[in-house]
């Protein structure tokens, strides 16, 4: 059974600081998605990582994938309050997504 673990589960950080969210998974997969969810809202796709070594960047967020280590990271640079949300990684196997438990990010002034 595929397990997808994210850490930390909750992250409180000050504006302007950098931090990394980790997503570890337990079985072979060569693609992974990152989603953002605001409270009471739906999921918004952030990144699609399709192969080992893939790196994608959008604004202050950068995601990477290491399929050999079964690890993806979401790096936040110089955080701003607008990034406060819950972030999910989701691993692709057999046409299905398995989601991590999410990392709730709170950016404070």
């Amino acid at each position: 059974e595929l397990k997808v673990e994210q850490n930390p589960l909750f992250l409180s950080m000050q504006e302007g600081k950098n931090y990394t969210i980790y997503c570890n998974y337990s079985t072979t997969s060569d693609r992974l998605y990152w989603y953002r969810q605001d409270p009471g809202k739906s999921l918004e796709s952030l990144f699609v990582l399709l192969s080992n070594g893939a790196v994608k960047q959008e604004g202050r967020l950068m995601a990477s994938l290491d399929t050999k280590a079964r690890l993806s990271t979401l790096h936040i640079t110089a955080a701003v309050h607008d990034l406060s949300a819950t972030y999910f990684c989701a691993v692709v196997t057999a046409s299905k997504l398995t989601f991590g438990t999410g990392t709730r990010l709170q950016v404070t002034l």
Partner: protein, 117 residues
């Protein structure tokens, strides 16, 4: 652009009642999915469909049934609601499955908040 539309958005049921959640997509997607989201947990797959007339079980299918009679619609049914089914339900769709030849992420609806008393 409507995308993925879920109805209803909110519903309160009594234990033992039945109901159907409707998901409609206008993107001509082949694949559709139903998830549930519980506090402190990620999304868990209930059932999915890889095309009109097909359905398959996901991670947590017990107590739910689904139908995909038309390509654009995917229905989720609760025959006899139980308090353990209180959750937020999300529908998603994608052009193809998230398989080797696809890089299209799943598109999600806004969710249905279901409470069972």
């Amino acid at each position: 652009n409507a995308g993925v539309t879920q109805t209803p958005k909110f519903r309160v049921l009594k234990t033992g009642q039945s109901m159907t959640l409707l998901c409609a997509q206008d993107m001509n997607h082949e694949y559709m999915y139903w998830y549930r989201q519980d506090p402190g947990m990620g999304l868990r797959l209930i059932h999915y469909s890889v095309g009109e007339g097909t359905t398959a079980k996901g991670e947590v299918p017990d107590g739910y049934n689904v139908s995909r009679l038309k390509k654009q619609n995917f229905l989720l049914g609760l025959e006899s609601a139980a308090p353990s089914q209180t959750s937020v339900y999300f529908c998603a769709s994608s052009y193809t499955g998230t398989d080797t030849y696809s890089n299209q992420p799943q598109h999600f609806g806004d969710g249905t908040r279901l409470s069972i008393l």
